[in-house]
């Protein structure tokens, strides 16, 4: 590599000397130190998986295209700050590592996805107290053509703690450079600089509040202002509002409930309430699900309609063969997830026997909705 550089220097000098000799009388060109550069890795870029300042476990995807054909046994990536026009990506200048940056998250340097370089085992390492990354393979003795796209991921990065721009100096070497320093990077084949940036996080907040709408009704639709629904059972006597049952038939009546909720875990609808009672007399509740037979006094209910995402539970069924009432109260239905205006219907059934004591029988039932967010 150094011979190549020297050749270039020589040709430059030769060119300059020849020019001078031909053009006498021309004012001398400024004298100064000469600097010789290897070819630039181009294009080149480094992807950061996360630009949060101070973030650990970040992946830097290093990408470049070789400018010079030759063996590449090592790639060095040195991270530096810029200060007063020096440092930063400028090769050969002092490199001040960004505060907090490390190539060895948790003390381990890792790299994956090496492409474009020779096949084989590439070893990731660090120098300069974990702020300079090295990737080496002494068995990579096959020349890499110029214009070869190379990429690898440094998966063990820790971002600098300060927000702002920092830089990376990327070097390719024909042989591992064990004496690398920022000011004396040694004989590299190609190089290039990249600028990176850590940013403040962008906080985005959007809140969707927990919701529940629950309504019980007997009319055509839910009326939130209704004081209480009523379910009469039996045949009305004229227009008296008195509904009568006897042993000759099974009498039914229905009540609806509507539920809307965004509870991601669904929920449970509970039913509380006892059997039809008149003073000390009752019409027995069906405590085992079954049919109601005219003349055998029984009282129960089933879910005759199930709304979206609603299923019967707690022993309650969905057919006339499954009248049931848990007089101790308990689950009636399960909601499997978020629902919007899911309408279900409870159908009550009752019959009297010849010996059912006369009277007005009532039962007060409550539904309780418990959504699980």
């Amino acid at each position: 590599m150094n011979k190549q550089k020297n050749k270039r220097v020589s040709s430059v000098l030769s060119g300059a000397l020849a020019t001078f000799m031909l053009l006498t009388g021309i004012a001398p060109i400024l004298l100064g130190s000469q600097t010789v550069y290897a070819a630039e890795l181009e294009p080149r870029y480094i992807n950061m998986s996360d630009s949060t300042a101070g973030k650990a476990g970040v992946t830097y995807g290093v990408n470049f295209t070789t400018a010079t054909a030759g063996v590449i046994e090592e790639v060095i990536v040195d991270f530096c700050n810029e200060s007063g026009g020096s440092g930063g990506p400028i090769v050969g200048t002092t490199c001040t590592a960004p505060t907090g940056l490390s190539v060895a998250n948790g003390g381990t340097v890792t790299a994956t996805g090496v492409t474009g370089l020779n096949a084989g085992t590439w070893t990731a390492g660090d120098i300069n107290g974990t702020t300079t990354f090295t990737l080496s393979n002494t068995s990579a003795t096959t020349s890499v053509a110029a214009g070869t796209a190379v990429s690898f991921n440094i998966t063990s990065m820790v971002n600098p703690t300060a927000e702002g721009t920092f830089y990376a100096r990327v070097y390719t070497y024909a042989a591992p450079n064990t004496t690398y320093t920022a000011t004396a990077p040694g004989s590299y084949t190609d190089d290039g600089g990249d600028a990176l940036s850590t940013n403040a996080t962008i906080d985005v907040t959007a809140t969707v509040q927990e919701t529940l709408t629950f309504c019980v009704y007997t009319g055509a639709s839910c009326n939130a202002t209704a004081t209480s629904a009523a379910v009469p059972l039996g045949n009305q006597i004229g227009t008296s509002g008195i509904y009568v049952i006897d042993s000759s038939a099974v009498y039914t009546g229905a009540v609806n409930f509507t539920v809307s909720t965004n509870a991601i875990n669904g929920g449970t609808i509970y039913l509380y309430g006892g059997t039809l009672t008149s003073g000390t007399n009752t019409i027995p509740a069906l405590t085992t699900a079954g049919s109601i037979t005219a003349g055998t006094a029984d009282f129960g209910l089933y879910l005759s309609t199930l709304g979206t995402n609603v299923t019967a539970s707690g022993g309650y069924g969905t057919a006339t063969t499954a009248y049931y009432l848990n007089t101790a109260g308990g689950a009636l239905a399960a909601i499997s997830g978020p629902v919007n205006a899911s309408v279900s219907t409870i159908t009550y059934g009752v019959t009297a026997s010849n010996t059912t004591v006369p009277g007005v029988y009532t039962a007060s039932h409550q539904l309780v909705a418990t959504p699980k967010f």
Binding site: Y45, T356, H365, V368
Partner: protein, 350 residues
């Protein structure tokens, strides 16, 4: 000696175009000011009537192990979101009692007011998972509708400092509904020569013909009665009428339960099975009740106008009685066509 100097400039503006796109991810995060979002959480209300004093069972789930010292539960009528000013719900939890806790331990009610409960303990590590608390004596909001809960957990024991976890709840207060019906007083009663099954609609016959009476043998006949009632105090069946009469001549009725004796003037009935003579049968059916005094002895008969012949003490399902009739005449009984009209009356004693 001079050299042509080639200088590579590294200043940013020039390098900018040489830098291929650098992917800088804008980090989108939810604000950490409210802690992590609680996992599954819900409040089960035992009685959701407006204004009811009831039990609240609260379940909340933390998602990571953390040092936990207090849990704040706040009830609001307007929103479950902690950043929005809370309008206290019209309920009152100032009198709640912590009954049970599971999935954790050591909590007691640190402080409480009408719409806020703070559970406190000495801070300790709480493994990720569900915790459940049961509170008694919580008073529901006074009106039907939805109200909300706000949950926050803290490392401190007094709900101070930044919350560890946050989550909302929504609950509903709902009026109960009434199921109602009426059972009318019920009495089924019919009489007939025969009543198939327990169906009054099938009863038939209302004329009993004893034929020619003889001093040598007891004339017999039978009819049936069916009764059912939901009268709490049961039923009574009465018979009224006179004995067999022909003009001014009467076959004397048996005034006391007596055996049938051919050759003596007798008219009587009973409601049981007999073998002397063989007539009648015992009461049948799923109902209750039986023959009244004087009418329930086998082979003994009587007839008293207006007397109760069968009764029950409470509601009865179908009960079918067979009335056995006997007639005996003496040699002195005047000839003629004797007849009697008996009326049976069933009464439900409500």
């Amino acid at each position: 000696m001079f050299h042509i100097i080639k200088v590579r400039l590294y200043s940013l503006p020039i390098w900018a175009w040489q830098i291929m796109p650098i992917i800088i991810a804008a980090v989108l995060t939810t604000s950490a000011a409210y802690g992590a979002l609680l996992g599954e959480r819900y409040l089960n209300i035992a009685n959701d009537l407006p204004g009811a004093s009831t039990t609240y069972q609260l379940t909340l789930t933390t998602t990571i192990n953390e040092t936990l010292g207090s849990i704040e539960v706040q009830f609001c009528s307007n929103s479950p979101i902690v950043t929005i000013a809370c309008t206290p719900s019209s309920g009152d939890v100032s009198g709640v009692v912590l009954q049970t806790q599971s999935g954790t331990s050591g909590f007691s009610i640190g402080s409480v007011n009408a719409n806020t409960i703070i559970l406190s303990r000495i801070p300790a590590v709480q493994p990720a998972g569900a915790m459940t608390f049961t509170f008694a004596n919580a008073i529901n909001p006074s009106t039907q509708g939805t109200f909300y809960g706000r949950l926050q957990t803290f490392a401190s024991s007094n709900a101070s400092g930044s919350p560890l976890d946050t989550g909302g709840l929504a609950m509903a207060i709902l009026n109960s509904y009434t199921i109602s019906t009426t059972v009318l007083p019920y009495l089924l009663f019919c009489a007939g020569e025969t009543i198939p099954g327990f169906d009054c609609g099938q009863s038939n016959g209302n004329l009993i013909n004893f034929g020619n009476l003889s001093t040598g043998a007891t004339a017999i006949a039978q009819s049936q009665l069916l009764v059912a009632t939901n009268a709490q105090n049961g039923y009574t069946i009465q018979v009224s009428g006179s004995s067999l009469t022909s003009g001014n001549f009467v076959v004397p009725p048996l005034s006391n339960a007596s055996a049938a004796i051919p050759g003596e003037d007798q008219f009587g009935i009973n409601l049981v099975a007999n073998n002397l003579p063989a007539v009648g049968s015992n009461a049948q059916g799923p109902g209750i009740g039986g023959p009244a005094t004087g009418y329930g002895l086998s082979n003994e008969f009587q007839f008293k106008n207006g007397s109760i012949i069968a009764e029950s003490t409470g509601p009865s399902d179908y009960r079918k009685y067979t009335v056995s009739y006997i007639v005996n005449i003496s040699p002195n009984q005047e000839p003629g066509v004797y007849s009697a009209t008996l009326t049976y009356v069933g009464v439900g004693n409500f």
